[in-house]
Amino acid sequence: MKSHKVRQLTAASIAVLVAGLSLAGCSSGPTSAGSSGASGNTITLWTHNAGNPAELAADQKIVTAFNASQSKYKVNVQAFPQASYNQSVVAAAAAGKLPCVLDIDGPTVPDWAWAKYLAPLDLGSSIANQLPSTVGKWNNKVYAVGYYDVALAMFARKSVLKDADIRIPTVTNPWTGTEFNAALAALKKTGKWAAPLDLGTSGTGEWWTYAYSPMLQSFGGDLINRTDYQSADGALNGPAAVNWATWMRGLVTQGIIAQKSGADANADLINNKTAIEYSGSWAAAPLSKALGSDLAVIPAVNFGAGPKIGGGSWEWGMTNSCGNKAAATAYLKFSLQPQYQTGVAVAAGTIPADQSPASLKLDPSYAPGGTNEIFAQMSSKFAELRPPTPAYPFISTTFTTAAQNILAGADPKSTLDQAVQSINANIKTNNGYK
């Protein structure tokens, strides 16, 4: 009798559950299928700046100004921590819950455009004055635009270089590879530092490709053949690339760099645990504060094919699923006014993407004669975009693994051959990412 009752109860529960699920399937949720990020004329904006109060406040300032400038559209900001931002976006894309406007790390733009996360932008003349490295393109269409860029550079104490009789290079007359190697040998010879150069080898993620692929390019190699982006053969495993890899490994075996550097390169330079730090323009402010006028900013080294630095930082785009593309486009156009985008660049301590006189007036430190002019010069003269192909995330992780293995002692040629094989196979598997 009791078991009969239990069975009845179970059957009734299942019926209620099924009815509930069916009803839910019929009802319309907060977003309709295929579109997201907008509720009428209110759109959502995502940024990677949670935990970065200065830049978040500058972004919020643009949103507040936009909301106040008209009564038709409204933008709401949601901020995410940078380190896990991409996972949040990919998960939201899988669930069909992307916002309307979001910021994207520059080299990821082609991949997200190819995956149809992003929609092409029609911003007209709003981007006429942007640094080329701040415009995210794929298949000749603009998908994103950034308010700023950053520049790789090395930092040292002028006094240390002077004591070792090392010339302080300039943008117009950077170190050659031979000069750089001689400088490193001279510093090592003093015996003051276990490893005089901090290349940031403890860095993780995108840092390895951002930091070391420009050196590879300066040696004459590259991550992929840029004619059609279909193969890395010859570019990543040719003689120039092997020379680069052999040189990198040599830095470890000669004790010039640590296979794994300290966790905080700035602190190590300030505490005189290293003589030269390889970092970027973002390190200039804290180092300048600590070292004052003794700080030397050293531009990228010319290893033969010209000095190179990575180009492209965080950029803004509109999602393909955006439920109100007119609102998203209106916001993006509004945000590109010099006072707003340069305001963000100032808050982030980065190079303003808008190089118009009006913009440089707002941040004279990057104008001619300014303290940060060197970074703007490097960005416009030496910046090489990471390959604008949807294959880039795979290329980047493959390159990182190869470079880490080479530093650990793997044979340069066979390691690079293996990397090329993996990259080519990935491109083929994805039908050339067309």
């Binding site: 009803l23 839910a24 949720g29 907060p30 901020a79 921590p81 939201a92 899988a94 669930a95 190590d268």
Partner: protein
């Protein structure tokens, strides 16, 4: 004489037997101390570093100073944390999410285990095997499909007298709780413990007219204290440390748990002192909880045979 000889021999043998025990005891103490230091030193380092500026943390790294409150000591990192991260909100979220997950987890998993242990269900061995088999699937492989799935799930919204069905659980508290209530390991643990309780107790209760739920509530659960404590700990810790899942399903800052907050400090110039201050603050409640219930934790883990 013989007695004297025997006594003396016994004394000698005891003395001889004791002699190697002293160094063995000493070695064991040394080993335990080293082991304890391995676990305690990182925590001391975290608390001490939270009081130092970044440059000093790294300057002290090579010496014992790293574990001592010397140099420029201040609470500046703590005040900076409060201005950078809504830590109180995150703490409250984590406490709520962990507590509800533990309470519902205890109820659901013990009921499932009770059914599998005590009720006559055809194929219950296969059901238990299937439940245990799910343990070999790592969460990371399920995460993305699970995001899609929870976004399709319905929910009954109650606004006064108005009932509406919505779909999609993303960006809610429930998406951080409900998927983690049912837990294969907890079911297994309860099942093993219930199996060790004599079935005669159930039969005696049934003779007195008790139903299944009364047996569960009044006989088995009161006798399962160690299993309850172990399951509570094993459910609480992952809920408190939850990181990947909230990153994927939570978009609003006011719903985030504490572990996601650590990411706020990893910018281009990492603020190590602030990270240490933040992690000190989120570790403290767990540490206090553990110290307060230390004895029952150790007892429960010892009696259920769960290690590591």
């Amino acid at each position: 004489m013989a007695t004297t000889t025997t006594t003396s021999a016994r004394a000698q043998s005891t003395a001889v037997g004791k002699r190697p025990r002293a160094p063995r005891h000493f070695l064991a103490t040394v080993a335990k101390t080293v082991l304890a230091l391995v676990f305690v030193l990182p925590i001391i380092f975290m608390f001490i570093s939270s009081l130092k500026p970044d440059s000093q943390i790294f300057a002290d790294l090579g010496s014992l100073k790293a574990f001592l409150p010397v140099g420029h000591i201040s609470f500046a990192n703590y005040t900076d944390v409060f201005s950078r991260v809504p830590i109180l909100q995150f703490l409250m979220n984590s406490v709520g999410i962990s507590a509800v997950t533990v309470i519902l987890g205890l109820l659901v998993n013990s009921l499932a285990a009770f059914a599998l242990s005590r009720m006559r269900i055809r194929g219950k061995r296969i059901i238990l095997t299937l439940i245990i088999a799910t343990l070999i699937v790592p969460f990371e492989t399920l995460a993305l499909p699970l995001v899609w799935w929870v976004n399709q799930l319905p929910w009954l919204q109650i606004n006064g007298f108005d009932l509406t069905f919505t779909h999609g659980w993303l960006d809610t508290y429930r998406v951080q709780i409900i998927p983690f209530i049912a837990n294969a390991f907890s079911v297994y643990l309860f099942h093993q413990y219930f199996d060790s309780i004599p079935k005669e107790l159930d039969e005696a209760a049934r003779m007195d007219g008790a139903g299944w739920f009364t047996i569960y509530r009044k006989i088995l659960m009161p006798l399962s204290g160690p299993a309850i404590a172990t399951v509570a700990i094993l459910t609480f810790l992952p809920a408190w440390n939850s990181y990947l899942w909230p990153i994927m399903v939570i978009q609003s800052e006011n719903l985030r748990p504490v572990m996601v907050g650590v990411e706020y400090f990893y910018q281009l110039n990492v603020a190590w002192g602030q990270i240490m201050a933040y992690t000190s603050m989120i570790t403290l409640p767990i540490l206090v909880l553990f110290i307060a219930f230390q004895r029952s934790f150790v007892n429960s883990i010892a009696s259920t045979g769960v290690k590591g």
